[in-house]
């Protein structure tokens, strides 16, 4: 086993897991909404990027467009479906009553509703753009070492993953918005009475989560095959990472990205991609079974015990 291979494999899986999960984690952790359409949000980001880049725009500009398109889409979904505000606005003026209960903290209903969005998106994109579109080339070339080569772009992705985590941590702990957003999660009533516009917080959070999904799609557009069904491959990693991570979502996503990425890298190197995948999923099953509060729950327990001594 070549140590470089192992390291690059780890960086690669870590980046993939973290980038897949982070948008989902923000929305789940902050709003109690499980976005089963998360993979399809990523797909939108990838399509936006690929289509704009194919039209001749520079790659970075295309990526920014991909992120913006997904964020706008997330905004529309939040306003019409998750909060139901837009539909209720119309209904109140035509039927005289609101018809939709917001999906906040209705975990199972939010799963089913966003699942439906995912179904519509996958098939909708297939109808509009067909089963495949011209793909982008991976930029930045590759590095050579001892008979192996590794794509520089993928290495950049793992750096981006770390930056995204650090950035989000800063936003949620060191800005006014972050404090308000966390207040909204902890106790919406009190937050509202202290003058926080909780509706706006939910919408902003959902848009941030969507933009992160779009970013993931944009970043992977040049290095994966962009097809309508690509969301599924992100969805599994995303879910597993969020669930394994536990209630403290950002820290949890980092930890589970580390653990699952390491296991995936190790088994992929030893026995091939398939076993890497299976070993990762089995680890996730074990963690969910053994640690009901995920990895961050375990960390907190250990910390409490230390303090107790």
């Amino acid at each position: 086993m070549n140590p470089f291979n192992l390291f690059f494999q780890f960086a690669d899986s870590f980046a993939f897991i973290v980038l897949s999960a982070v948008g989902l984690a923000v929305i789940f952790g902050m709003m109690g909404v499980i976005n089963l359409g998360h993979g399809e949000f990523i797909m939108i980001g990838a399509y936006g990027t690929t289509l704009v880049a194919n039209a001749g725009a520079p790659l970075v500009a295309a990526m920014i467009v991909g992120v913006i398109v997904t964020a706008v889409f997330g905004f529309l979904v939040e306003r019409t479906i998750v909060s139901g505000a837009a539909i209720n606005w119309v209904a109140e003026r035509t039927l005289g009553r609101s018809v939709i209960e917001p999906l906040y903290d209705r975990l199972l209903d939010s799963m089913v509703a966003t699942w439906a969005i995912g179904l519509i998106l996958t098939q909708g994109v297939r109808i509009v753009f067909g089963n495949s579109i011209p793909q982008l080339n991976t930029p930045l070339g590759s590095i050579q070492y001892g008979g192996f080569s590794y794509s520089v772009y993928r290495l950049v992705l793992s750096l981006v993953a770390v930056c995204v985590l650090v950035g989000l941590y800063a936003v949620f702990t060191h800005t006014k918005f972050g404090v308000r957003a966390r207040a909204t999660i902890q106790d919406p009533e009190t937050a509202r009475s202290l003058g926080v516009n909780t509706d706006e917080m939910y919408t902003t959070t959902f848009v941030i989560g969507s933009a992160l999904a779009g970013l993931t799609g944009a970043l992977y557009a040049p290095s994966l095959t962009v097809v309508p069904s690509m969301g599924t491959s992100f969805l599994v990693e995303a879910f597993v990472a969020v669930v394994v991570g536990g209630p403290s979502v950002l820290f949890g996503t980092t930890l589970s990205g580390g653990l699952l990425g390491a296991i995936n890298a190790l088994f992929t190197n030893l026995y091939g991609t398939f076993f890497g995948q299976i070993a990762m999923l089995l680890t996730a099953i074990l963690v969910i079974r053994l640690l009901s509060n995920g990895l961050t729950g375990l960390v907190e327990t250990v910390r409490d015990r230390k303090v107790g001594e």
Binding site: D109, A116, L119, T122, I285, I288
Partner: protein, 360 residues
């Protein structure tokens, strides 16, 4: 004692607050629909019957999810796991031995394996205090593990006995459902398969009605409404959930055997994410707390999907998705409970045009 009171006594065990349809009128309608379905093959021929049979065994799969989700609050994406496991087991057993006797026994054996699978997974989850949405995600992960696993079994090393698992090529030439020994055995196809499926569906529906309206059903509903309180009252919540999950797994497994013998074929798509989600669509649209709703919605949606597929339309999934979305948002209780509430409103206030169609 007249026939009317005998009829009332016969329907008593199947009635209660946990199901719709507790009137004499409902049962007369039920028997009428059942009678029409019975003569359906005589009216439209074996091909139409065989086609209709797939809606009926899909309804059994729908019922299995309705039972675990609607009555015990366990949203499982894993019903298709047991469906697929049973289908594959049936194929492996019947193809390996080939005799009528083994094919006959393969049905209960496959259901038993699926049930065992449900027991192992359920024990692992519920006795490990895995709850709510984590159960959902765990079942989804298990489904995808199986999908990944079965998808890579194309090589010749994945041969069990003399039968290859076949990866995405699937397992062809699975024999028809067989009842009996040697040459005299009854091989079900076309109309006979349809009747077998219809009868099974009716028995399962009635059985589940009796179950959810009995003591155990009340316990299940209590667990759904408030696990901690049920536990405080002295019930073993873990055992209740495990039992429900196992029953659901057995029903899904039974439906899976019918599926494998119906098309004489099974492939890993039964574990795929699209197929895994379809039962959730059926049950949500029909009304997750309504067994009847699950059946009606399954048959309606599957029929509709087939119609769109026949006309070559790519919009089937879009329409199904939109329907699902509309139901979750506007009628979270599902269509059938909503209609039931509307009907009840109308019969109680014949003049009122009250439009608050919200269920209880």
């Amino acid at each position: 004692m007249g026939p009317a009171s005998a009829f009332d006594r016969a329907r008593a065990p199947f009635e209660g607050p946990n199901t719709a349809g507790n009137t004499r009128g409902f049962w007369i309608g039920f028997l009428a629909v059942f009678a029409v379905l019975l003569i359906y093959p005589l009216l439209f021929g074996a091909y139409a019957a065989s086609n209709a049979a797939q809606f009926l065994f899909s309804a059994i799969l729908g019922l299995s999810l309705c039972f675990v989700w609607g009555y015990a609050g366990i949203l499982s994406f894993g019903q298709v796991v047991f469906y697929g496991i049973a289908g594959y087991t049936f194929g492996l057993l019947s193809l390996n031995f080939g005799s009528a006797l083994v094919t006959t026994l393969a049905l209960p054996a496959a259901v038993a394996i699926a049930t065992l699978g449900a027991f192992v997974l359920g024990y692992f989850m519920f006795y490990g205090e895995v709850r709510d949405v984590y159960v959902t995600i765990l079942t989804l992960v298990v489904t995808l593990v199986l999908y990944t696993f079965m998808g890579q079994t194309a090589g010749s090393e994945w041969t069990i006995g003399s039968v290859a698992l076949g990866g995405f090529n699937g397992m062809p030439a699975i024999p028809n459902l067989t009842l009996g020994v040697d040459e005299s055995a009854l091989r079900l196809s076309g109309a006979t398969f349809y009747w077998f499926t219809l009868l099974s569906l009716a028995v399962i529906y009635l059985g589940l009605r009796a179950l959810v309206n009995g003591r155990f059903g009340y316990t299940m509903v209590a667990v759904r409404e408030d696990e901690d309180r049920t536990q405080m009252l002295g019930y073993d919540v873990r055992r209740v959930k495990l039992l429900v999950f196992v029953i659901g797994g057995a029903l899904a497994g039974f439906a899976g055997v019918l599926y494998a013998t119906w098309g004489n074929y099974i492939n890993p798509d039964v574990f795929g994410i699209t197929f895994a989600s379809i039962p959730v669509v059926w049950v949500t649209v029909g009304g997750r707390r309504s067994l009847l709703g699950a059946i009606v919605a399954t048959v309606a949606i599957e029929w509709f999907r087939q119609q769109l597929a026949v006309t070559g339309s790519q919009y089937a999934i879009v329409v199904v998705g939109a329907l699902l979305l509309a139901v979750v948002l506007v009628l979270p209780e599902g269509v059938v409970p909503w209609m039931r509430a509307r009907l009840r409103n109308r019969s109680e206030h014949p003049q009122s045009t009250d439009s608050t169609g919200v269920v209880e």
